[in-house]
Structures are given as structure tokens and as C-alpha cells.
Symmetry: C2
Subunit: 384 residues, 2 copies
């Protein structure tokens, strides 16, 4: 099967290299920006790929919704299988791509868009056919996990941890999507769509780690907790799903606490299989390229789709989710949440453990407090 690659950045180079070595797969043309066609295999016009009858499949690793979406639709309509690592694309346009691919009778797979090298979506799609999925989630962003691990193991502050992540190539020049939890949110959107056939587009909640300080880390570590950025997805009534991302304090010794560096830990729970967790590198050239290659070789043995045929866009309903939270906020805002225990106060800043608060209320209240220029950090507390 001859595979054209759209994009020749970090992941694209890995995919192209791996295609050279893969049995049953052949590297086709690679789409680069105009002016960058400095080698014979590079082309800069999408028509040279979509219109090439020898190309059987297209692997898109450019990122962004456009022009990736237009290229994807053109490839699919030209009868080419479509594989992507692009979570922004699938989160925005996955339902439409799924429908188009099924109409064209081609495969549409995107393992690399959630978990990097960790094959969570493939396994979820495989499990869905014979098991009922009760929940999905986990640590789905390697950049923030690296930063949290650095802050917790070395005492670094947020800015230093971010700088180090950027120097190592884990964080983009603009790290907004990672540190605000948006990247993890897109991934849990995909997992929800695979698990329950609903791609939630509204009502989603994401809190990242951009409010976290070295003082917070010092305080909750002294209490035996480790912070992880965790995505959660669950079915909700009336064909909705609950989907949100927030920091979670787990106990040192919990499985998540052993997920270090830029690793991911993606999980699902099946009614029959029970809880399944998968750990591996969530990003990087070769881990991500390996997921793209597994999808491409999967097409050769019949793998066709990850979203169910009747997958629809939907609305998130997080009203049933609720936890106790660890919150750091100004003392003047002490009455924002029902407090179970005051952990520390210094006349200005308060650290509290709340009673059980709904996820919706926690995220909304924090947003309102910040709008009024109050500094707030919060994290759900894993109890029991």
C-alpha cells in the first residue's frame, strides 16, 4: 500500500522514515510548503497527491483544522484511506470525516491523535464491539506531565518547568493548548466518540496547570499527594457524555504517581474487561509515528474505522460529576466553596479542602474569581 504523507515536521519525518522500512507499505510523495520541495519525493500541491492514482492512503501529520480538513476530504473523496495524528482536526471535524470515509468505502483511523504511541483508541474501538464502556480517561498530555514531574521532583517553578519542556521539544513555542488542558480535552472528546458514538462539542470543561505554583506543589506534596492533569469521560443521560479535564491530586503510590516524564496513562473501563490502563510515551517523533504506522498496516488487514457508523456531534453534560477539591485562593474569597477543612492560611492566601463540589460549579466559580482578578489554583482530590 503506497502512502502519501501530508506534513514533514517532527512526526512527518518519522512516518516517512518508518515507511521505508515497513513491510507491505511504501512511501509515496510528501506534501511540504511551496518552496520546500528540495527533494524528489516532496510535492507542494495537494493535487499531486489526491490526483495520483498510485497513492492508496494519505497520512496527515500537519496539525490544525485547515487546510488539513480540505485535504482530508479531497483524499477521501478520491478513494484514499485517511490516517491522521491531528487531534484538533478530528475533534473539530471527526464526524464529517467518518461519514465521508464510510461513504467512499475507505478507512479513517487516528490512533496517534490520542495517547501518542499509546494505542488507547485502537483498543477502545476494538473493545466497543463486544463490551460496554463505562468510562474513559487518564493522563493524556505529555507536556504537562513532564512539567508536573519536574516541579514535583526538583521543586522548579512553573516558568522554569515550561522552559525546560520547550528546550526538550515537548512544548510548542505557544504552549497554550497544552497548559490549559485544551489538548487533553480534544483527546478525551475523541475517546468519548469512539466509546459512545457522541463527539461532544459544547459544554466541555478544561482546567490546566497554568495556575500551579511551586508553593502549591510544596504544600500538597507535604500532605502525601502528587498532581496529575487528568481527562475524564463518562456516559450521561439523554445521549450526552460527561467530558472534562482538570488537575487531580492522587496519593503518592497510586498508579498515576508512577507516570513520570512525558508519559501518558490512558485508561478505559469495560463492564466485562474491567479497568484497562495503558502507559507509554504520549508524544515525540517515533512514538507518534509508530501509532500512524500501526494504523496504516492495520488498513492492510481490514481495519476501517474507529468512530461507530452513526457517530454524531453532541453536548457534554458534566452535572453528575463531583469531587472534593484542594483549592488555593485569596482569604477574601473564602466563602466561594463549602469548606471541609482549612489546610493553611497566612493572612492573605487560604488553602482549603472543600466538601464535594460539582465539577461544573468548581470550574465556573474559579473562572468568575479569576475574572475579578483573584489568583486561584484547584485540583480534585482522589479520595479513599
Amino acid at each position: 500500500m503506497k502512502v502519501a504523507v501530508l506534513g514533514y515536521g517532527t512526526v512527518g519525518v518519522g512516518v516517512y522514515e518508518m515507511l521505508q522500512a515497513a513491510e507491505g507499505l511504501e512511501a509515496g510523495p510528501v506534501l511540504v510548503r511551496p518552496g520546500k520541495e528540495n527533494e524528489a519525493f516532496k510535492v507542494s500541491r495537494i493535487e499531486d497527491i489526491v490526483g495520483d492514482p498510485t497513492v492508496d492512503a494519505v497520512a496527515e501529520v500537519m496539525g490544525g483544522v485547515e487546510p488539513a480538513f480540505s485535504y482530508a476530504m479531497a483524499a477521501i473523496r478520491a478513494g484514499k484511506h485517511f490516517v491522521t495524528s491531528n487531534k484538533a482536526l478530528v475533534a473539530a471535524k471527526g464526524v464529517e470525516l467518518n461519514r465521508a470515509a464510510r461513504e467512499a468505502g475507505v478507512s479513517f483511523l487516528f490512533s496517534a491523535a490520542c495517547g501518542g504511541g499509546v494505542p488507547i483508541l485502537h483498543n477502545l474501538a476494538r473493545a466497543v464491539r463486544t463490551d460496554e464502556i463505562l468510562s474513559v480517561g487518564g493522563i493524556l498530555n505529555g507536556t504537562t506531565n513532564f512539567m508536573l514531574d519536574q516541579m514535583q521532583s526538583t521543586g522548579k517553578d512553573y516558568a522554569d518547568a515550561l522552559r525546560e519542556a520547550q528546550e526538550l521539544g515537548y512544548a510548542e513555542a505557544d504552549p497554550t493548548a497544552d497548559v490549559t488542558g485544551l489538548d487533553a480535552l480534544r483527546k478525551i472528546m475523541l475517546a468519548c466518540a469512539v466509546a459512545w458514538g457522541v463527539l461532544p462539542k459544547e459544554g466541555l470543561l478544561n482546567e490546566g496547570i497554568d495556575s500551579l505554583s511551586a508553593a502549591d506543589v510544596k504544600d500538597f506534596m507535604a500532605r502525601g499527594f502528587v498532581c496529575r492533569l487528568v481527562a475524564s469521560g463518562q456516559p450521561a443521560p439523554e445521549g450526552k457524555v460527561s467530558a472534562y479535564v482538570e488537575p487531580v491530586l492522587v496519593r503518592a503510590g497510586d498508579a498515576e504517581s508512577a507516570v513520570l516524564k512525558n508519559y501518558n496513562m490512558a485508561r478505559y473501563e469495560g463492564r466485562n474487561a474491567g479497568p484497562i490502563a495503558m502507559i507509554g510515551q504520549g508524544a515525540g517523533r517515533y512514538p507518534t509515528a509508530s501509532a500512524v504506522l500501526r494504523d496504516l498496516s492495520g488498513i492492510c488487514v481490514g481495519e476501517a474505522a474507529m468512530f461507530p457508523a452513526d457517530c454524531v456531534e453532541g453536548v457534554a453534560d458534566n452535572s453528575a460529576a463531583a469531587h472534593a477539591y484542594y483549592v488555593r485562593l485569596p482569604e477574601a474569597c473564602a466563602d466561594a466553596f463549602p469548606v471541609r477543612e482549612v489546610l493553611a492560611e497566612d493572612g492573605e492566601t487560604l488553602r482549603v479542602l472543600t466538601e464535594t463540589v460539582s465539577v461544573q460549579k468548581m470550574h465556573e466559580t474559579a473562572r468568575a474569581l479569576r475574572k475579578a482578578n483573584n489568583a486561584v489554583f484547584f485540583a480534585a482530590v482522589r479520595e479513599g
Copy 2:
């Protein structure tokens, strides 16, 4: 696809139940012992399954090599897909079954034979097509993990932990295969065959946990270690593979230390994907049945094989594997190993940390010492 089930024990009941609910799959006859045909769907003659043209696939969950092997060959030769959870069968006859299935043009899958509900073999087989596998292994026996967890979390001695495992249905009436490491060894044999096309049949080494005492646990836990029974597989020169099972002391806080109860943690490392670990229930009715069902539904979308076409039986070569070991032995045997550090001695019993010793030499020396009626416990020490 209509599926006949061979065996109606713990797993068989789960498979039969799940087949009722699975879309695209249909429950066929179930093979039980003569005299047990107390319901219309039960038959006691294999001919009633093999000769039934409406049966498309056979799921074998009886256990044991015979008559399972004869039944499997009869089913395959009759053109039926064959799925099994039976590690003893695949470890003994996997190469022959693989060849027969490929000749007959039917699928031969056995996810449930390694990892229970943890889909390690499926993912390994999928990864092999585009990545080079550098190692396989992990915690592959839920019974012994449950016992170790009990001994370590409650201070129970070995006999009490075994009794509790039996009461909860995790250990068989005869627990020999579990506690000696033989069950985990069979599983790592399968993983080696999937990863490198060599099913090692000779030269294998397995040490279990049947020498472990409450005093050992107390001692190494005080030193910050947790014991896990770990299987290891790696490529070796001249088309051989290294494959062995032994207790390993990991640091509290290492990922394996968070694998509790009857859970498994199966892992592989790909040259491109990096290390991938999968955690879930390694045994039990529904987790194991869920793996069988995923294979059956996989056949409907084209999954055909886990062993490569040219898979052969081979010989294990463990000569390159070596570790430092924690050893408890009689003081009179103190010179059996090069000692790096004496950890404890009481005039009778010695606890030492050895220099790096080859796995081969460690297992052989312990066997020789025991033959001369010396009580020995040993565990590799995870360093660094």
C-alpha cells in the same frame, strides 16, 4: 458469525453469556462432559460441533493440552476459525496450530492466553508489523500477584495468602503452575513467539514465589523494596530468545509496585514506540471472556493471526541476562554466590545482596542448593 464454545467452566460461562449480547456474533453449541448436557445448547461430542456446517468459529476455554489440541485441529481442518484462552495448549502446540490454521485459511487468535483481559498479545502482533520489538515481559500471573500483595500489605505468611487466593477463586486447587512461575513462563513463551517468531521450548528458566516467607517480606520491605513475579523475554543471538520468570524486587514507587491484587502489567518495548505497558485484570470470568470476545469480533473485521507465518519452535538462551540478586540462604552456603553486601545474619540464615550474577547461574545454583536440602529464596534486584 456463529461461535461454538468448548468448555463451560468459569471462562466458558462468561464467553457464552457475552456471545448472547454481542452484535455480529451468535452463540452456537457448547461442548460439555458426557452426562452434563442438561440444556439444549450443550453437546458432549466434538463431532456435533466440528461437523456442524452452521458453526463458523470455535472458542476453546477448557484448558490442558489434550483433548483441546485434537479438538482444535479437527475444528481448524473443518474450516472453522479457532480462538483460545489456553496458554498450556498454545505453549505446547502453537506452532502446529498456526501452520494448520494458515493452511486451512482460518484465523487462530489467543489474546486471552496471556494477560487475561489485558490485550498485550493483540497489540504486540499489531506492533510487530511496523516496529522492531526489543523486549517483552511484565507481571503476567494474577494469582501470585494477589498473594504477594497480601503478604506485603498485611504481613500474611505464604500459606495464608495462598489459602485466601484459593477462597477467592484466583488460585486452582492445585496451584503449582501459578506459584512456581510455570504459568507466567508459558505466557512469556507466547509473547516471544508473537514478537520474534520463535516459540522457545527448551532452556527456559522459571522461579516462582513458593520459597517466599513472611520474614523475607518484612526484611526487603524495610529496605524499601516490593516483590513482584516478573517474566522477561528478549532476542538472543542465532535466532534464539531469552525467556525466564523470577521474583524481582522493585523500589516502592516504581510502576510495578502500584500493580495490586490480581492485576497484571504486561509490557513491550518497540524501537520506535518506546516502552508500552498495559495494566488490567489478568484472570477471572469476565476479563478473560472479554479477551476471547474481542478476538472473535476481530475475526469479523479481518484479524487472522498472532504468530508470524514462519513461526518456529526454538531454544531459549538466557546466557546474556544477569542481575544483582537478593538471596536468603543458610550461612553454611555463604560462598555459593559472589556477595556484594551482607544484609543480615543471625548465625543460621544469611541475607545477602550479590554482585551481578547470570540468571542461568542463579537459577541453577538455587536448584542445586535445594537439592541438598537448603532453603533458598532469591529475587533479582531492580537497580538504578
